[in-house]
Symmetry: D2
Subunit: 112 residues, 4 copies
């Protein structure tokens, strides 16, 4: 992940794109990339969404790559390590959703 | 990252949440978490978005953690490694946006 | 709708909020409000999403009101009439998705 | 607006698309359409976003038409009148953001 972040940083610097990559703009771009993932699933049933065909999987791999790139870039511009931030949040989630209370319950408790 | 993915997988299994975690539902949840990041920046100027205060940074760290968690979980359910997918996409981007053509140009060329 | 747009315009002017209401910022705010609608549906089955209970309906009514407000405001700032724009788009859709080809087909043809 | 809603309803029924148009799916589609609006603004400065050129304005008119269509359709499937919901919400906003307190203040008070 750290290597990826460095690669993206160099990529942007070489193209003189730091000027466009404010956290505000990157948050917008991240939301646009996520919508491209959502688009693949919008008319599918739950079951269909579990088994995308090979063509859809290739596209999804590319879209998920895009989301990962913008997330890494946004986090880098804010000085945040996204994997570390996720691990910290998982520790909070462990306390917030204790197994005995959250088991099998959607809505309120199903947020990770 | 792989450890994070395993931790999230165990977290969901312990709570019997796999039933809710279809790629379709996870894509929706991912978009909701990204919107919580966007919300912090919506009324800020570009400059303000570069320097969030300590309180906002804490919240952003948590929101970015959430986005990372849902992205890792969605990718896991699809059998995709998000960092590898990002690296593959960066190789495509290197070709698509050659330095000499893309330098300092926004809009068309500024997508990572 | 035109009355609604005028009401929102006066509301913003009275609070000296035009300075924050650039199309860029309003597009971000619109996406955040839509995510609040999506949030209500993310863990529901298709069937459950058809019949929200009274409490959820009240919240959805408020969220949909918010989306309508920001859409009207964004369109107003761009000098676009959203209902007229929708009617023009429906005429394009009539041609793009002829009944005989689009009937009962999802994915490609199911976009409105 | 009511005419638009009826037109969209007939359009979907003629194509046998009611089966795909659950509130859950329509909320996803709405978020995807909004992202297409956001995409036009993501790399623009605030100033640039105020004055899109003619080509961009044509595209924005079409995207805003799409957002209006999906919002009208989602609201129709839930039995909500979006303009009425917006007017109710504006009455709440009038109380929540009194002029004397909200004047010129962003972040906390700038939400419509």
């Amino acid at each position: 992940m750290k290597e990826l972040t460095k690669k993206i940083r160099a990529f942007a610097q070489n193209r003189d794109w730091d000027q466009f990559h404010s956290p505000k703009n990157l948050a917008m771009a991240l939301s646009v990339e996520v919508a491209e993932v959502v688009e693949h699933f919008q008319w599918l049933t739950q079951e269909e969404s579990q088994q995308p065909d090979a063509d859809k999987m290739n596209k999804l791999r590319e879209e998920i790559g895009d989301v990962m790139i913008y997330l890494a870039r946004l986090a880098d511009r804010l000085g945040i390590d996204p994997v570390q931030a996720a691990e910290e949040k998982m520790r909070i989630n462990e306390k917030r959703y204790p197994v005995e209370k959250a088991k099998g319950l959607a809505t309120k408790y199903t947020e990770l």
